[in-house]
Amino acid sequence: MNRKLFQSIREFKKESILAPIFVILEVLMEVLIPLQMAKIIDVGIQNGDLAYIVKMGLILVIMAMLALYFGVKAGKMAAQAGAGYAKNLRHDIFYKVQQFSFKNIDRFSTSSLVTRLTTDITNVQMAYMMSIRLLARAPIMIVLSLVMTMTISMPIALILLVTIPVLGGVLILIAKKAHPHFIQVFDEYDILNNTVQENVNAARVVKAYVREDHEIKKFHGISKIVYELFTKAEKIVAWNSPVMQFTMYGVVLLMVMIGGRSIVLQTMETGELTSVIIYAIQILSSLMMVSFVFVMIMIAEASSDRIKEVLEEEPEMQDVPDAIHEVPNGDIDFDHVSFSYAGEGGNLALKDVDLHIRSGQTIGIIGGTGSAKSTLVQLIPRLYDVTSGCVRVGGIDVRKYGLEALRDQVSMVLQKNVLFSGTIYENIRWGDRDASDEEVRRVCRLAQADGFVQDFPHGYDTMIVQGGNNVSGGQKQRLCIARALLKKPKVLILDDSTSAVDTKTDALIRKAFREEIPDTTKIIIAQRVSSIEDADQIIVLDDGRINGIGTSEELLKTNTIYREVYESQVKGGENNE
C-alpha cells in the first residue's frame, strides 16, 4: 500500500501500534508455552512428580491466561484499527468528492465512486487488519523460534537459517508472479459486472428486441475469460502449499537425522528434539502466513490504487486567496466566451458568446438539442470555467468570487432534477437551513407547489423516497424551483425546469417571479415558446453560437430558427400532415 493512504490512519494510530505489540506479547507466550509443556513431560511425567506437574501446570495456566488476554486484546485492537482506518478512508474520499468541481465529477462515474467507497475500502480494511496482526506475528515468531532452536542445537538452527530465506524467496516469487494475473482478473471482473449492470438496467430493451441469446452469448464470452484468467492466477498461488510442505517435511527429516545422531551421542535430549521440530513448524507456517498476507495485500493493492486516484484528484476549482464574498447585483456579462469540456484545444461547445444582461431582466434561451443551452448557463454559477473570454456577475469575474458566495447568489434548477430522501420541509430547506416553516410555504406558493403539497395527507411532512419518484414530474420540478427560490438569489436560472408543468401553472410561476422577485435576474431555458415568449430578451442558440437576440416580436421577423420553432408549436400541427 502507499503512503498517501496511510495518512488516513490518524486517530487509530494507537490501535495500529498496540495491536502488533499485543501480538508480539502473545507470540512470546506461544513460544514459552511449549517450553513449559516440555518441562511437564520431560521432568514431571517422566519422574512421576505430581507436585511438580501441578506447580508447572499452574504456571502454564497463568501463561495461557496471559496469552489469551494478549490474543484477545490484539484481535480487538486490530479489528478497531482496521475498521477505523476504513472509516477514515471513507470519510476522506467522501469529503474529497465534496470538494470536486463539476469537471472532477465528470471524470469519475457515480458507480465507480460508489465501488471505491464500498468494495475497495473493504478490501483495504481486511488487508490492513490482517497485516497488522500477521505481519507482526510472523517475524517475531521466526526470530524467537530461531533463538530457541539455537540454544538447543546449532547445526539444526543452521538448517533453518538456510531454509528460511530460500523458502521466503520462493513464496514471494510466487506471489509476485501471480500479481499481474490478479490485476488482469479484476479488470475483466469490472467488464463482467458492467455487463450484468447494463442488462439489469436495460432488461426491457433486451426483451423488447429479443436479444436474450445475444446477451447470454456475450456474457458467456466474458465469464469464460474470467474463468481462464482466474484459474491461471490461482494455479500459480496453488504452488504455495506443496512448496511449503516439501520444505517442511525436508527440514523435519533432516532434523530427525541430525537430532537422532545427537541423541545417540548423548549431546541432545529426546524432549529437545520434539521442541526443535515444533519450532521449525512454527517458523515455516509463519512464512506461509506471510505469503498469504502478501497475496492479500497484492489484491488490495488494485483497490488502494483506485482509492488513491480519488484522493489524489486535484479539486480543479479553488477559491482565489482574496476572494470576494459579496455579489453586488444580478448583472451578467459574457465577454467573447468560448468553452470546451475537454479544456484548451478540445471541441468547442460554446463559440465566442458575447452577451450582456442587466439585473432584474428575464431572459429566455431557446435552441435545438445539443445547441449548448445548458452549457451556457452552467458558466454563470461557475460550475465550469471558461476556456477563453470571461463571465462576469455583478460586473466581477466569477473566478474572483468565493465559490460559496457566488453559488449562494446564483441559484440554479438543473435539468436533471434531484430530490433527496427526507420530508418536503427538509428538501426545500436545502435552499436555507434556517428558514422558518412560513418561509418555506411562501416559496412553495411562489413556485405554485403549495397547493398540491397541502393536498398530501402529511402535507409538508410527506416523505420523499430515494430518487423522488413518489411525486410526479411536474410536482418535482415545482419543488425544485421552490428550493432554489429559498436561497433568495440575485440570479435564478431554470434549465428546462417547467417542461412537465402545464402552461397555465407555468405562466403563474412566471407571474410570481415578476411580482415577487423583480430585482432577481431570471434566466429561463425552455423548449416551449410560451415559457419564454414574454421575456425581455430571448437568446436563440445554435451549435454553440448565438444565432439571434431580441424580443419575441423582433425574432419572429429576423430569426429563422425562432420562427420555425414558434410556428411548429403555435400553429404547427397542420403543416406536419
Binding site: I33, I40, I41, G44, I45, Q46, G48, I53, L60, A64, L68, G75, K76, A79, Q80, A83, R90, F94, Q98, F102, S109, T110, V114, L192, N193, T195, V196, V200, A202, K207, Y209, H214, T231, E234, K235, P242, Q245, G250, L253, V256, G260, L273, I277, N347, I366, T369, L383, D408, M412, V418, F420, S472, G474, S499, V501, T503, V565, G572, G573, N576
Partner: protein, 629 residues
C-alpha cells in the same frame, strides 16, 4: 435494502450447502473424489510428523544410545519410509490444490452463467420487485463469498476433519480414560465457538445493515452531487455521512473483534486441556490407575497439543462458510425464480404472396411478414398476414390483485394508424404498451393482434414484430455503431447510416471525435439526454418493425428536431401501426386517434380536431388550462 440474514446453520442453510455440493459432484465427480483422497493422504502425511516421532525415538534412536558403534542404517531406512509418506503428501497437496482451483472456478463460472441465463428468462415483474443493487450484489458479493468458501473453506474443513478423526483415534488407542476429558473439551469448544460465533454473527449482520445504509446514502448523494454543489450543501452532507459512517465503524469493529477472538480463545482452551490432562494423567499414572504408564502419558500429551489446532482452523472458516451459504441461498433464490411463461405457438415468418393472393412462407426477408398458426386438431398450418391490427376487448388489468391499473379498456388500432395516449403520470399509458408486448400477461383473448389471441403468439416473435422506444434510454457499452445495430444484428453500415439520418442522429454522431466508432460507456453518460433519445430511435428504426411503440421517446428533444424526426418516422412507418405516448401534445397532434386516459380509463377518444371540438379534458390540456401531472 436490508438483505442481511441471521447467520444460523438452520435447515435452509444445510439444504443450500447440499445443493452447492451438488454443483461440485455433478461435473467434477472424479476430480472431487481424487481431491478428497489427496486431502486424506495429505493430512495423513501431516499427522505422521508428530505420530512418527514417537516410533522413531522409541524404536530407532533410544536403543542406539550407549552403543559403541551405533548403526544408523535402520534409522535411515525408517526415515526413507517416512520420506516416502511425506513425498506422497506433497504430491497429493500439489494435485488437490490445482484441482480445487479448476473445480472452484468451474463451479463459479457455472453458477454465474446459470444466473445470467436464468435472469434473461425472468419476467419484467422480477426487475420491478428487486432493486438493481440487490441483483448486482448476487454477481459480486455473493459470488465472491462462494469463491472463498469453495477454494479455502472446503479443503480446510475436510483436512481438519480428517486430522481430528485420526488424532482422536490415536488418543483413544493410547488412553480411553483420558480421551473422555478430550470429549468434554470438544463440547466446551463447541459451546464457546457458538457463543463467540453468535456474537460475531450478530455484529456481522449489523455490519451488513450499516454498510447498506452507508452505500444507499453514498449512492443518493453521488447521484445528486451536482445539486449538492449548487446548494453549497457539502458541509451538511459531510455531517450526515459521518453519522452513518460512525455506526458502520462500530459494528465492523465489534464483528471483527469477536471473529479475531476465536483463535486465541480456542488455542488457550487447548493449553488448559493440556494442563488438566497432565495433572489427571500424572495422578493416574502415579497411582497406576487405568493402566496409564509414563510413556503413554508422554505421547498422549503430544497429541493433546495438536488436537485443538484443527478445531481452530474450522472455527476460522465458520464465518466465511455462513456468509457463503447465505450468499448461495440468495443466488439459488434467483435461479429458482419462476421464468416468464410462454405457451405461445404462433410464430412470425417471412412470407410472400402467391399470384392467387394466398400467402406462403419463404426464407428470405421480403418486407412481408405472416403469422404461422399451426392447428393442433388437424395438424394444418394457416398463415395470416401481419398487418398490425391491435385490439383490446374490455380489458381490466392490475399489477397485483388488489389494485387495478386499467379498467374496461376497449380499443382498436387499424393497420397504418397512428394511435396516441395522453394522460397524467400513473394514468396507465405505459401499462397498455407493456401489455401489447407481453411484459405482463392478461387474461386470454382480451388482446388480439391481427385477429390472433396474443397469448397464443410466441413472446419472442411477438416482440420481434414490435419496435419500442422507451422513455429511459438505455445504451450498452460499445461503439455508437454497435448500439444502433442492436436493433438488427446483421444490419449493413449503410442501413445504420440511413437509420441514423432518419432519427436525425447522423449529424451529431459525425461531430463526435470518432464518429460512429465513438465508444459509449456507462449508459452513455457523455451524451445529452436528447442525443441518447435520438440514438434509441435510430436503434428502433434500423429494426424496421411492423408495429412501433414510442413511449415518451422524444421528451428531451426540442420541438424543432422532434418534428424532423417525426417526419422521418412517419415516412418509415407509412402503412404500419404506431402507438405514441407523450406528455407534449404537439408530439401527438397528427395522430389518427388520441385516447385520453385518466385513472386507468379512457375518458375521451377521437382525432385532434374531434377532441378540440368536444371541448373536454383534451381541449383544456391543449389550451393550457389543465396540467398533466
Amino acid at each position: 435494502m436490508s438483505r442481511a440474514q441471521k447467520p444460523k446453520l438452520d435447515k435452509n442453510a444445510l439444504k443450500t450447502g447440499k445443493r452447492l455440493l451438488k454443483y461440485v459432484t455433478q461435473d467434477y465427480k472424479v476430480s472431487f473424489i481424487i481431491v478428497v483422497v489427496c486431502i486424506l493422504v495429505s493430512s495423513v502425511a501431516s499427522i505422521s510428523v508428530s505420530l512418527s516421532l514417537k516410533f522413531l525415538l522409541d524404536d530407532f534412536i533410544i536403543p542406539l544410545i550407549g552403543q559403541q558403534k551405533p548403526n544408523f542404517a535402520e534409522l535411515y531406512g525408517a526415515l526413507a519410509v517416512l520420506g516416502g509418506i511425506f513425498l506422497a503428501g506433497v504430491i497429493a497437496a500439489f494435485i488437490y490444490t490445482r484441482m480445487m482451483v479448476r473445480i472452484g472456478q468451474g463451479v463459479l463460472k457455472k453458477v454465474r452463467d446459470e444466473m445470467f441465463e436464468h435472469m434473461q428468462t425472468l419476467p419484467i415483474r422480477y426487475f420491478d420487485q428487486h432493486t438493481n443493487g440487490s441483483v448486482m450484489s448476487l454477481y459480486t458479493n455473493d459470488t465472491d463469498t462462494l469463491r472463498q468458501m469453495i477454494n479455502q473453506s472446503i479443503p480446510q474443513v475436510l483436512m481438519s476433519l480428517f486430522t481430528i478423526i485420526v488424532t482422536f483415534i490415536t488418543m483413544l488407542a493410547l488412553s480411553p480414560l483420558l480421551t473422555l476429558l478430550a470429549v468434554l473439551m470438544i463440547f466446551l469448544l463447541i459451546f464457546v465457538t457458538k457463543k463467540i460465533g453468535g456474537n460475531s454473527g450478530k455484529y456481522f449482520v449489523k455490519q451488513q445493515m450499516d454498510l447498506a445504509n452507508v452505500t444507499g446514502f453514498i449512492e443518493e448523494r453521488m447521484n445528486g452531487q451536482r445539486v449538492v454543489k449548487i446548494f453549497n450543501h457539502e458541509r451538511v452532507s459531510e455531517e450526515e455521512f459521518d453519522a452513518l459512517n460512525d455506526q458502520l465503524y462500530d459494528s465492523a469493529a465489534n464483528a471483527n473483534t469477536y471473529a479475531n477472538m476465536m483463535g486465541p480463545v480456542i488455542g488457550n482452551l487447548g493449553n488448559l486441556q493440556f494442563v488438566l490432562t497432565a495433572v489427571l494423567g500424572g495422578f493416574l499414572s502415579v497411582f497406576g490407575i487405568g493402566g496409564i504408564t509414563l510413556g503413554v502419558m508422554a505421547s498422549y500429551l503430544q497429541f493433546t497439543k495438536s488436537f485443538t489446532q484443527p478445531f481452530m482452523q474450522v472455527a476460522q472458516q465458520f464465518n466465511s462458510i455462513i456468509m457463503a451459504l447465505a450468499g448461495a441461498g440468495r443466488i439459488f433464490e434467483m435461479i429458482d425464480e419462476e421464468p416468464e411463461v410462454d405457451e405461445g405457438y404462433v410464430t412470425l415468418v417471412n412470407a410472400k404472396k402467391r399470384p392467387d393472393g394466398t400467402i406462403e412462407e419463404c426464407p428470405e426477408r421480403t418486407g412481408l411478414w405472416a403469422w404461422k398458426h399451426p392447428h393442433q386438431e388437424d395438424g394444418s398450418v394457416t398463415y395470416t398476414e401481419l398487418k398490425g391490427d391491435v385490439r383490446f376487448f374490455d380489458m381490466t388489468f392490475g399489477y397485483n390483485e388488489e389494485q387495478m391499473v386499467l379498467h374496461d379498456i376497449t380499443l382498436y388500432a387499424k393497420p397504418g394508424q397512428k394511435l396516441a395516449f395522453v394522460g397524467s403520470t400513473g394514468a396507465g399509458k405505459t401499462t397498455i404498451t407493456n401489455l401489447i408486448n407481453r411484459f405482463y400477461d392478461v387474461q386470454d383473448g382480451k388482446i388480439r393482434y391481427d385477429g390472433i389471441n396474443i397469448n397464443k403468439i410466441k413472446k419472442a416473435d411477438l416482440r420481434r414484430s414490435l419496435g419500442i422506444v422507451l422513455q429511459d434510454t438505455h445504451l450498452f457499452t460499445g461503439t455508437i455503431m454497435d448500439n444502433i445495430r442492436y436493433g438488427k444484428i446483421d444490419a449493413t453500415e449503410e442501413e445504420i447510416y440511413r437509420a441514423a439520418r432518419l432519427a436525425h442522429a447522423d449529424q451529431f454522431i459525425r461531430m463526435l471525435p470518432n464518429g460512429y466508432q465513438t465508444m459509449i460507456s456507462g449508459d452513455g453518460e457523455e451524451l445529452s439526454q436528447g442525443q441518447r433519445q435520438l440514438l434509441s430511435i435510430a436503434r428502433a428504426a434500423v429494426a424496421d418493425p411492423p408495429v412501433l411503440i414510442l413511449d415518451e421517446a422524444t421528451s428531451s428533444i426540442d420541438t424543432r428536431t422532434e418534428s424532423i424526426v417525426q417526419r422521418g418516422m412517419d415516412n418509415l412507418m407509412k402503412g404500419r401501426t404506431v402507438f405514441v405516448i407523450a406528455h407534449r401534445l404537439s408530439t401527438i397532434r397528427n395522430s389518427d386517434a388520441i385516447m385520453v386516459l385518466e385513472h386507468g380509463r379512457i375518458i375521451e377518444r377521437g382525432s385532434h380536431e374531434d377532441l378540440i371540438a368536444q371541448k373536454g379534458t383534451y381541449y383544456q390540456l391543449y389550451t393550457g388550462k389543465l396540467e398533466l401531472s
